[in-house]
């Protein structure tokens, strides 16, 4: 259907509006300011063509009834459908004007005037859908409707039409199938992974629990198998032990035979053994006799030896006593020698000290004489210096000079006086007075009496001049300022002169001398020289230590008396030529003697100490020697007595010889009864065999004990087979179950995965032409961030695919403006493929793209133009659209030569 014309009366705010000759395709812009009635026109078209019976009383309709007239709304819409033109008129009231007409060659032919029939037949002509269903759902946009239709209310007939044109995407079979797959899939999984990745089963699904149980069962089976393995090892050990026990028993039997044989042999050797034992006893007896004889002989010999030793000990002890006495005497003699030597040294030292005292007296006298000479020279010099100092001080008194500061003040005084005098002298002015002929004036200069001048006169003015001109007045000229005139200068100068005179008076000057200041300067210079000299003399006096001259003189007198006394004392002493050398040599010798004396005294003390120590030692040794002597004497006596008691040596030798003969006989008998080596070894061999037998028995016991333990342990293994079997059965069962279910889960996951992949491919094949067109338009408008659009089964897009193909974004995440633009593009793209080829479909856009910026709006004009033009040659064919744009911004939608209908024009739209 396309709209050709409309005429609206008494509708809302519209008194009357007539638009005719709308173009059959392309963009038509109907524009007017806000409140003009654009939306009311759209509402009138919707109501008339689709929504309301002419007699309808519905409130939604009633709200468009005018409140400014009692007349009912009346709308006539001319449209083209199925290749013919129709005109429907509805006056919305009972009995109102109502008819459906068809254009014929002769004009408009009424088809029906029955309101219900008018409505039904009109509806049939425009598609039997209300204004928000069918193609209108896509192409008739109300204000603020900037999104795509909700998928829940998207007309299924439109979807069917799209399916007819574009192809089948997902059938009911598919739906039912994937629902079942999903339902089963959820048994194991909760979320799909990225394409190509295997989905992860949920931890709580029964399969995962079974797998966990399988793990536990395997662990349990492994433990039981291990127990069984241990049992088998025990069996092997038991086998070994049994074998070992058998071997041991065989060895035991063999060893018992050996023991029996050895015992028989041992019995046979018993007789020889007894003879041997008798001979052995005889030998033992003979050995004892020989040993006794030899012991006695040895005793006699040793007693004699001890007696001789005792005698020697007596002699030795006596020698020790003598030796101790001698050593004591030697020590006492040494001590005495030391004492004598020390005494000699002390005497020599005493003489030496006397000599030293005399030499030192000479030495002291010479020192005092030297000091006296020095002191005398010092005294003389001091007296000379004090004389000079006295002279200089006298000059100072005679030729006084002002101090430096006073001299500076005086000099400043004179400089100031000279400056003031200069000022005073430089102050003379020249005053010239010239009178005209016959004129007279009186002139007074520097306090002088006034003078009458009548001729030209020139005067020098020092301070003040007064000129009185009769008939005219008086002129007074005065030098200096008001505060300080020449009087002040003169007073200051007089003050300075007075101060100067007072300043020079103490130095014998009047102050009137022209060179008074020079004289004072010279006197000050002389005084300064004298002061320098006095300072030098005082320094020397201080260096001489002669500040007080009387003290120097008293010291000289005292030293002179001391020298005289020393000379008198040494008058009888032998003269000493060089007392210093004598004192040094004597001191040196005295030091040596004192060292020698100290040494001797130490030696003496050592000698005395040693002597005392030795004496004590010798005394002890002497006592010990005495005791030893007494003991040795007693021993010697005892040994002598013992020796006397023993038999004679010859008697003892005879007894020994007899015993040795008996020994020889016994050894001969023993030799005859001697056992062979083999016979000797019999007891050891028997013992070894018995020992071996015992060890084997012990080993057999150990083996038997271990075997019994193993048997005991093995006998407790009852039931192990069954428990292993049960564990293995559980593992087998769980394995079978889980393997089957894992396969099942993976098959379902694969089905789900494949279905989704294939569905996407199917979808992209079917909706490809639509999405390609929309994408092209999106690029045209500057929406370039996406490379794909994913649509749902209802052909409505829901997701935008990013440039990298991975990032997907729901359309709702885009800006409102972009959503509005994309939605309009999709509507136009979908609408244009199901638009009937006979005539274009009409798209009514009431105030569209209100969220778009000017740039996008400008680009959207291109989209509208393309959509309106269509492209019947494409696959599937895209048919032209008649696009009516109601807007208050006509400049936004001006497309080429698109008709612009100004609703503000009263001839087109007259408002109430």
């Amino acid at each position: 259907m396309i709209l050709e014309q409309f005429e609206i009366e008494n509708w809302s705010c519209i008194r009357r509006s007539v638009v005719t000759d709308l173009p059959t395709a392309g963009v038509v812009v109907l524009h007017g300011r806000n409140g003009t009635g654009k939306s009311s026109i759209v509402a009138a078209l919707r109501a008339t063509l689709f929504d309301y019976q002419p007699t309808s009383n519905k409130a939604e309709l009633k709200r468009f009834f005018p409140n400014w007239t009692a007349d009912a709304p009346r709308v006539t819409v001319g449209f083209r459908a199925g290749g013919a033109s129709y005109r429907v008129t509805k006056q919305f009231k009972k009995g109102g004007d109502c008819r459906l007409e068809e254009r014929t060659a002769g004009g408009w032919a009424v088809i029906t005037k029955t309101p219900a029939e008018v409505h039904d037949r009109t509806l049939a002509l425009v598609g039997n859908k209300s204004s928000d269903e069918g193609l209108q759902q896509l192409l008739w946009l109300q204000q603020t409707e900037y999104r795509l239709p909700d998928k829940k209310v998207f007309d299924v007939d439109v979807q069917a039409q799209l399916r007819n044109v574009l192809g089948v995407m997902q059938t009911a079979l598919d739906d039912a199938f994937i629902e079942k797959v999903k339902e089963r899939w959820k048994t194991w999984y909760s979320a799909r992974n990225q394409p190509g990745e295997r989905a992860k089963r949920t931890k709580t699904c029964a399969l995962e629990k079974d797998l966990e149980r399988l793990k536990q069962a395997e662990t349990e089976l492994s433990e039981r198998d291990e127990s069984y393995r241990v049992m088998e090892q025990s069996l092997e050990r038991a086998d070994y032990l049994e074998s070992d026990a058998r071997r041991i028993r065989v060895e035991l039997d063999q060893l018992e035979t050996v023991v029996r044989t050895l015992r028989d042999e041992l019995d046979r050797s018993q007789a020889r053994l007894k003879a041997f034992e008798v001979a052995q006893l005889q030998v033992d007896s003979a050995e004892r006799a020989v040993r006794l004889a030899k012991e006695r002989q040895n005793e006699q010999t040793s007693t004699a030896g001890r007696w001789a030793e005792a005698e020697q000990a007596v002699a030795a002890a006596q020698g020790q006593v003598d030796l101790a006495d001698r050593a004591l005497k030697d020590a006492e003699q040494t001590r005495d020698e030391f004492r004598e030597q020390a005494r000699r040294v002390r005497e020599e030292a005493r003489v030496m000290r006397n000599d030293l005292g005399l030499a030192e007296a000479h030495q002291l006298l010479m020192q005092k004489q030297g000091a006296l000479a020095v002191l005398r020279e010092r005294k003389l010099r001091a007296e000379e210096l004090h004389g000079e100092l006295q002279g200089l001080r006298q000059l100072d008194l005679q030729q006084p000079a002002p101090p430096k500061e006073a001299l500076a003040k005086l000099a400043k005084n004179r400089a100031d006086a000279a400056r003031l005098l200069g000022e005073l002298n430089a102050a003379a002015m020249s005053l010239a007075v010239t009178t005209v002929s016959g004129a007279k004036a009186t002139l007074s200069v520097d306090g002088a009496d006034a003078v009458v001048v009548h001729n030209p006169v020139r005067r020098s003015v020092q301070r003040r001049a007064e000129l009185v001109i009769p008939g005219w007045g008086q002129v007074e000229i005065a030098r200096g300022s008001d505060a300080r005139g020449l009087d002040d200068i003169e007073r200051d100068l007089a003050g300075l002169d007075h101060t100067f005179r007072e300043g020079v008076a103490p130095y014998g000057l009047t102050g009137r001398e022209p060179d008074a200041l020079e004289q004072l300067r010279r006197a000050a210079a002389d005084q300064h020289i004298r002061a320098t000299q006095c300072a030098r003399i005082n320094d020397e006096i201080r260096r001489l230590g002669a500040i007080d001259l009387e003290i120097v003189r008293a010291e000289f007198s005292r030293l002179d008396v001391a020298v005289q006394t020393a000379v008198a004392e040494l008058a009888d002493a032998p003269p000493i030529t060089d007392p210093d050398e004598r004192v040094n040599s004597l001191r040196k010798r005295l030091a040596e003697l004192e060292a020698e004396r100290d040494e001797l005294e130490t030696a003496e003390r050592d000698a005395v100490s040693k002597i005392e120590e030795k004496w004590t030692g010798y005394r002890v040794r002497a006592d010990q020697a005495q005791t030893a002597l007494a003991a040795a004497q007693a021993t010697a006596r005892a040994e002598r007595a013992a020796l006397d008691r023993l038999a004679a040596p010859a008697e003892l030798a005879g007894a020994l010889s007899e015993a040795e003969q008996r020994m020889s006989i016994a050894l001969s008998s023993l030799s005859q009864a001697q056992l062979s080596d083999e016979e000797k070894a019999l007891p050891e061999r028997l013992a070894a065999a018995i020992d071996g037998h015992k060890q084997l028995q012990e080993r057999l016991w150990e083996v038997s004990e271990e075997l019994h333990k193993l048997q005991g342990a093995l006998s407790k293994s009852a039931g192990l087979h069954q428990s292993r079997t049960e564990a293995a059965a559980l593992v087998d069962g769980l394995k079978r179950k889980t393997e089957r279910e894992v396969l099942e889960s993976r098959a379902y996951d694969r089905l789900y995965e494949l279905f989704e992949e294939c569905r996407q491919k199917q979808l992209s094949t079917v909706v490809g032409p639509i999405t390609d067109r929309v994408l092209r338009w999106m690029r045209l408008t500057g929406i370039t961030d996406y490379r794909g659009i994913e649509c749902g089964d209802n052909f409505l897009p829901h997701t935008l695919t990013g440039k990298d193909g991975r990032q997907s974004l729901p359309i709702e995440h885009e800006s409102t403006g972009a959503q509005e633009q994309i939605a309009l593009m999709v509507r136009l793209a979908l609408g244009s493929v199901i638009s009937p080829p006979i005539e274009a479909a009409v798209a009514v856009l009431d105030d569209p793209l209100t969220h778009s910026d000017p740039l996008r709006l400008d680009r959207m004009r291109g989209v509208l133009k393309a959509a309106a033009a269509g492209d019947p040659s494409s696959t599937p064919s895209v048919w032209p659209l008649q696009i009516l744009v109601f807007t208050c911004h006509p400049e936004w939608f001006r497309v080429d030569a698109a008709p612009m209908i100004d609703l503000g024009n009263p001839t087109i739209l007259e408002r109430a």
């Binding site: 087979h721 087998d732 098959a747 379902y748 694969r750 494949l754």
Partner: protein, 402 residues
């Protein structure tokens, strides 16, 4: 006077089974005792003089005490009044702490009927004019011939009927493990035995006229299925998976009758097994599930048949779905532990069927991708895809348009 006896072996009581659920495993274990009851009934029926068990009464020496107790009670019970001669085999050898050294076997000596022959020495049974030559094993494996000692007791002119009882591998097969208690093939003849009652091998086998293995008294594995994978049982020989431990699927005892010394024994198979075990592969190509259901439903004695059914071949999706009926038959009407496996069945729908079940939307694309996966060389991917394909057919079929 001749002698009649029953020869069984390899009872393997306390059998290790891991591939069944607990109910099935318990019933299988119980079946072994039912088979012993059958044995005793046969003994009474045939009026035999004694029973001979040639080793491996127990599956392991560490079986539970209660089982050992029950076993002794079963043989000591009054339902069979004659003696029972038992030798230890390689699964229950006379090792220290073995089942024979524990209560009740150690406690109740001498038993009324059971005679555990612990020594390799002749046992004279004058009441039957028989001398037994038992060869008990002391180890799981051994390089020794357990019958070798019998050579020290040669036949004499006045010998009784000589019956050897041994457990080991008769050297009639190539490449037997050297330590599998090897017994010369001509042992019976060489040792002058009238009959050599053997145990160890699990299928009935007679060698010559005097040597025989009765196999197990009750099946314990599926015949023709590689050993170890079918039930979880493990032989203690190094080649436990060998064919000689494969199972006949039924329990057998030999009825042996020897008329006189040197006479040839008459040996007769007796079915004493309680269950029958069967592993079957069925190619379903060209068959309808209905046929299969009918076939397996109509078999006799289903409840005493342990069936492992594996299907292979190609079916259409509709037929494939009907396999569930067959599954219900196998799992519901056969003995507990019976299984049904149709994993190897391929589903190949016709193009019309395909269109009907997958439509013209997304599913055809999914189907193509799965088919590509099935053709890949990547085993894991192929396995998952094969399974997924079946799920797709099943789910899509359930929702196919009416």
């Amino acid at each position: 006077m001749g002698v009649r006896f029953l020869h069984v072996a390899d009872l393997h009581l306390g059998l290790r089974l891991t591939r069944f659920d607990k109910t099935a495993a318990t019933q299988i274990a119980e079946a072994r005792f039912s088979a012993i009851d059958n044995l005793k009934k046969a003994a009474i029926d045939r009026r035999v003089h004694f029973l001979v068990i040639a080793g491996d009464v127990f599956d392991d020496n560490t079986v539970p005490a209660a089982l050992a107790e029950r076993t002794l009670s079963v043989f000591e019970g009054s339902s069979w009044p004659g003696p029972v001669f038992i030798i230890p085999g390689n699964h229950d050898p006379l090792t220290p702490g073995c089942v024979w050294d524990r209560d009740p076997w150690a406690r109740e000596q001498p038993h009324k009927r059971v005679r555990l022959l612990r020594c390799s020495s002749p046992v004279s049974l004058p009441e039957f004019s028989v001398t037994l030559f038992p060869c008990p094993l002391r180890h799981r494996t051994s390089l020794d011939d357990p019958t070798v000692w019998i050579a020290g007791h040669p036949r004499s002119a006045d010998s009784d009927i000589r019956i050897g009882i041994a457990h080991g591998s008769l050297q009639i097969l190539p490449q037997l493990p050297e330590d599998d208690h090897l017994i010369p093939a001509d042992a019976a003849e060489r040792l002058g035995l009238d009959y050599l009652a053997l145990g160890h091998w699990h299928k009935p086998l007679r060698h010559g006229v005097r040597t025989a293995y009765p196999g197990t008294h009750e099946p314990m594995r599926f015949p023709n299925v590689s050993v170890g994978e079918s039930t979880g049982w493990q032989a203690y020989s190094v080649d436990g998976g060998d064919e000689r431990f494969a199972d006949a699927g039924r329990g057998v005892a030999y009825f042996v009758e020897i008329a006189a010394p040197n006479a040839s024994p008459r040996i007769e198979d007796l079915d004493i097994g309680h269950l029958r075990w069967s592993a079957e592969w069925v190619d379903v190509t060209g068959r309808t599930p209905g046929q299969l259901v009918k076939d397996f439903s109509n078999r006799t004695d289903n409840l005493r048949t342990m069936l492992r059914l594996r299907l292979e071949g190609v079916l259409g999706p509709q037929e494939y779905r009907r396999l569930d009926e067959l599954r219900q038959v196998i799992e519901g009407r056969y003995h507990a532990g019976s299984t049904f496996d149709a994993d190897a069945v391929l589903i190949e729908p016709t193009e019309d069927e395909l269109r009907a079940v997958v439509g013209n939307g997304v599913l055809p694309r999914v189907l193509d991708r799965l088919r590509a996966d099935v053709a890949t060389a990547d085993d894991e991917r192929r396995t998952v895809a094969t399974h997924a394909l079946k799920i797709l057919y099943r789910l899509a079929w359930e929702d196919r348009p009416a």
